[in-house]
């Protein structure tokens, strides 16, 4: 037998329900904690959601945030935040900072004059400075984007729920949706806790996490459905354990390959998409966890009809391809 890298032993027999009160309790706690965090600390919204202007500056001389702030303080721009950006991909003499100006009160359209004033003031303190990107979003659009973002996540959960209902049973669908909500809320909670910038790309990442998580959940459910037909008299809880154990190797290998693809992006992908990649990387962990510890627990809790109803379930299955 040739050597193979194995993330899980060939045959596992782990009782995934043994610690269910701890794991399920932990999930519940994380969700509540995330919601509390989001409610109290809120998000560090990017301009997509809050309106305003961000100017990225780049210079060959080091960034001095204090000098930048002094240069901009007298301009009456309201709330200005300046942060220096560090990244391993930057060249030796590449110094980047991000200037963020809050949306001006009562101004719908973006004023190029403001940007001009800021650029002139910064050029005065550092002649070598350039502005690789300038982005402005008016408050009207940002308000809509918040709504769209929320709706798209809700629509994605609902769409997936419907599909799972169609392909499996409604109990599976409920389990999947709970797991998805869990993943999104906890990831959002992490962004709130560390006050990481939350913009449209993070919403895309959250949606991708949904996709990954449901992928994992579906694989377990698919096996569960198959095993329920095979072991008609085995208690549901044991069939579930068997199914998770049987798919454990696949779950870990897929999480492994996905992480192997994401981690280089996290390191070398540059600061522009770091938040996005971070959200996805975190999502792989939480998505894997939730399909093992959350989704099926909900199904067990609701209970599945056995016997006749299962025959109907199998009728939903698409025909196998001719191998």
């Amino acid at each position: 037998m040739a050597w193979r890298l194995r993330l899980a032993p060939e045959k596992t027999n782990i009782d995934f329900f043994r610690l269910q009160w701890i794991t399920f309790g932990l999930s519940g706690f994380l969700m509540v904690a995330s919601l509390v965090l989001i409610a109290t600390m809120g998000f560090n919204f990017g301009i997509d959601f809050k309106g305003g202007t961000t100017i990225r500056t780049e210079s060959t001389s080091p960034v001095d945030v204090g000098i930048y702030r002094d240069a901009l303080s007298g301009l009456g721009l309201g709330d200005v935040t300046i942060t220096e950006v560090f990244d391993p991909t930057f060249r030796e003499d590449q110094h980047v900072a991000q200037v963020r100006i809050a949306a001006q009160e009562g101004v719908e359209a973006v004023t190029p004059e403001t940007i001009e004033v800021v650029e002139t003031a910064l050029r005065a303190v550092d002649p070598a400075i350039t502005f690789p990107s300038v982005e402005s979003v008016g408050p009207k659009v940002s308000g809509e984007l918040v709504r769209t973002a929320f709706l798209s996540i809700a629509a994605a959960c609902l769409g997936i729920g419907l599909y799972i209902w169609m392909r499996f049973e409604w109990q599976y669908s409920v389990g999947t949706i709970v797991a998805l909500v869990h993943d999104v809320v906890v990831t959002a909670g992490v962004f709130s806790l560390f006050q990481l910038k939350f913009d449209l790309t993070i919403v895309a990442a959250l949606l991708t996490i949904l996709g990954y998580s449901v992928n994992d959940t579906v694989v377990v459910f698919d096996r569960l459905r198959e095993n329920l037909l095979k072991y008609k008299s085995m208690p549901l809880r044991e069939v579930m354990n068997l199914s998770v154990n049987e798919t454990l190797s696949r779950t870990l290998i897929t999480a492994g390959t996905t992480l192997l693809a994401l981690i280089p992006l996290l390191i070398f992908g540059g600061d522009v998409i770091r938040g996005f990649i971070f959200a996805m990387t975190f999502g792989v962990f939480i998505g894997t966890y939730s399909s093992v510890y959350v989704a099926k627990n909900i199904v067990l809790w609701i209970g599945l009809p056995r016997g006749d109803a299962i025959k109907k379930a199998s009728a939903n299955q698409f025909a196998d391809i001719d191998a």
Binding site: A109, S136, A204, N215, R223, T254, P264, I267
Partner: protein, 553 residues
Amino acid sequence: MIFIPLWQRLLVALVTAGAILLALPNLFYSRVEQANDARASIETGLSTTELEAQAGQWPSWLPSGLINLGLDLRGGAHLLAEVQVADVYASRMDSLWPTIRDALAAERDTVGFVTREEGPPAELHIRISNPDRAARALEIVRGLAQPVATVTGGGASDIEVRAQNDILIVNLSEAERTATDDRTVRQALEIVRRRIDEVGTREPTILRQGADRILVQVPGVGSAQEVKDIIGTTAQLTFNPVVQRTTNENADPGPGNILVPSLDEPGAFYILDRAAVVTGEELTDSQPTFDQNGRPAVSFRFNAQGALAFGEYTSAHIGEPFAIVLDNEVISAPVIQSAIPGGNGIITGQFTPEESTNLAILLRAGALPAELTFLEERTIGPELGEDSINAGKTAAYAAAVLVVLFMIASYGIFGVIAVVALAINIVMIFALLSLLGATLTLPGIAGIVLTMGQAVDANVLIYERMREELRRGASPVKAVQEGFGKAFSAILDANVTTFIIAAIMFFVGTGTIRGFAVTLAIGVVTTMITGVYVSRVLISLWFARTRPKTITV
């Protein structure tokens, strides 16, 4: 023996070869891009040896579709403009006033004198001196209503009239507003497109978004402001009768009139009749020219309707001044010397030759029917885009190496097969992106890298099944067959759900998110093809060659 019909094997080979051909141009990006540009210029009739040489850099019989690089990768400007559709209501009301005035004046005996009162811009307020005959006046005005000019408008009339004591209030009906809004936005879109095309920048994206918005993306420009300058604000040209000239900027223009400053005489103002005789919409052509004294001027020509109105007005008002108004400034206010019947004329003013050329372009492109306000502006410098591409490339190579090593370590020869399928998968993604002319954004690159991680999931599912079957003592062929057969349902479900997500992102997302959604969706499709069908053909080929008695997955 794993039997796969010949046509299936051929199809897989053909699709793979096609994908490689379609993806090929992207390996020589700048060369193909130059060749494409050169060919495009040659087609428009320009042909120089230099262009021919550039076109020759890429053989014309090869596919030449390239992936569009998104603004975040190439640099450029992104603008989201809102068309102030309500502007048009006001001008509709202004143009309606003379008609209503004439119709009511014809029945002066019943309704009395008619005067226009100030009201909200989208409404026309008319005072009649004989309020007890308001019913008759209403009837007359309602008689002027036209059916809404749309297919769906179905019988609705374009104006609504109601009476409030001695005031008649006219406004556009809901159906007419909807129809007008749509027309306004489409017109604005067309004009924005023409103006940006006049300048000749490369592949701008100009799209309508939602009911009243226009998205403009122009790659390669230095700042969003440049694009705004090209689009301009309105360039609304009108010819209005002059009521009076004044130097008092607070002068009360009186009902139905407007106070407009002069463009080149500081402190001078004109009181104009708000109803224009003709507008820029009736222009058919405009060219830079010179007047009889050799000063730069702009010539114009009206369409038949405009020419008629202009001819009638000029013949009836010889000796009176009239004003040429551009964007609410009087360019000049010449006195009508004689009737101008042919609809031709020139605008003189204190222009430089450049200004007259620009004005001619603006007039020719047509006036924007309403003002644009900019809700979103993004400028991304080309250097930042280049940094992002390089960062993405480094990450993609590192990810590819890691995934390849991991798969081979986990599944041996089958890992190699999965990696070959993955390579074909990536080629197919690039091929489809080029074929669809889709836009690759930075999150899109991340999407491709993520696909590398996830695409092998299909193989993993199949191989894990094969392992189980082998443990149960199945023969190699049986194990492969069962592996593919039983894993299919899970693979399908996993991919359909991801596709649902991608579709939702595409429909609600904008810009970079859409780019991500497209690559994700394409990745799902190619993963289904390569993970299931290509892998199966590859495994069957391997079986046919080695005829293994036992296999280790």
